[in-house]
Homo-oligomer: 241 residues x 2
Amino acid sequence: MLKNGPVPRYYQLKEIIRQKVTSGQWNPGAPIPSERELCEQYGLSRMTARQSITELVNEGLLYREQGKGTFVSQPKITQQLIQLTGFTEDMQARSKRPGTQVLNHAMVAADAATAAALRIKPGQLLFKVQRLRLANGEPLAIETSLINFIGCEHLMDEDLGHESLYQLLEKKYGQPPLEADQELEARLAGEDEARWLKIAKGDAVLLIRRTTYTDRNQPLEFARSVYRGDKYRFYTRLNRK
Amino acid sequence: MLKNGPVPRYYQLKEIIRQKVTSGQWNPGAPIPSERELCEQYGLSRMTARQSITELVNEGLLYREQGKGTFVSQPKITQQLIQLTGFTEDMQARSKRPGTQVLNHAMVAADAATAAALRIKPGQLLFKVQRLRLANGEPLAIETSLINFIGCEHLMDEDLGHESLYQLLEKKYGQPPLEADQELEARLAGEDEARWLKIAKGDAVLLIRRTTYTDRNQPLEFARSVYRGDKYRFYTRLNRK
DNA sequence: GTGGTTTAGTTGTATATACCACTTTGTAAG
DNA sequence: CTTACAAAGTGGTATATACAACTAAACCAC
């Protein structure tokens, strides 16, 4: 029996099911108990149980077949690597030690392209930081971030060499990055990029442009990253609607 | 008032709302009618109206704020370009004329890496096709697809120079591609690739490896594509958690 | 003005119920 | 043995209802 309390009952059941799956008690391809069975076992109504299951189906952990039952999905290989993360979290998910070297930071006026991406007027002041990103001590990427929110000038006082920008935005500034649109392109390294990344001019690099959104699809960050092509792969999952 | 019939009522309402948004009757940032208002207007219960709205929220078209209402999301730039598509559909979404030149096709035995991706035994026979992909008549990519399903050998008889592989799989073979995991990497073009793509050896190319899944997360296709770096950008959207 | 309370309106959670559509399985009829 | 039908179990759709949590605005007391 689930209890009433600050945590909704559908959410409690959801986490119970997730635990059964990730712990291996319920195996991929195998059916989970029917909705009606779950109601009885945990003492809740069918609509509530359905809400738990529906959300897990949307996450891809389960799938339903009408007339047959609900089943555990086959696990995907890249599961941890397709979320929106900052560099620090991305490296942790890949079991690499993240490092950062701040090249420069300043308040700058938005140019036309940046203003369009962030939906602001050209010329408005933004926080800009350019950082060299390291994985296990080796240069991996150069990242240029432009940040816009009310009060973003306080970022000038932060130590971005040791603090995760995304963690700061979420925890200290109440601007959690929630979604991002990205654009990926293969390029050749220019002279400056090659020097920083310790590769040769003309080596392959992955250029990523990202617009990050917070609540209500409010644009928060516009970033341009150049990754070493030989040391970084990008993972994603696509759905057919 | 919505009517009972083969189309569920929640789905009818969903499409009505979608139409109001895409037609511009309801503007980004503006609130839509409250759930209770929609119930009354269209003569259905609140839970049914909620189902319509919930699905549109999951799609990102709307967002909710407790105590305030439900609102139309700001449109995203890349909205059409982040679905799972075959090359043909991808080009259509980008307003380019797709073209295809089949380089070769055969039934081949799966090597170890392919077998792992498709969850089959090494040595099993697969359909393999290698195609040069054109956009507005210009070479854009080389795509190598390995397909596995019961009866895949009949693909040998198809004209893949003029038929979309994904359309064929879905419409004729009952194997709709539903999801895909992708891996992207920046590389330099090799001699053969450069010749086909009409670029120089050492130019930047985007290497994409894709595993496509059909029903029940059954692996269907393992593909390796090499895109010209100067003519192709890949778009994606990321969510936090 | 400032701070608290009320009130009305919103979404969020939850129950109980009913019937539909589909799949599997067992059973009876041929 | 095969076919046809019935029954039971599954998820899919839908209604009616209730209360909780949260927001904004109006109101009142200080």
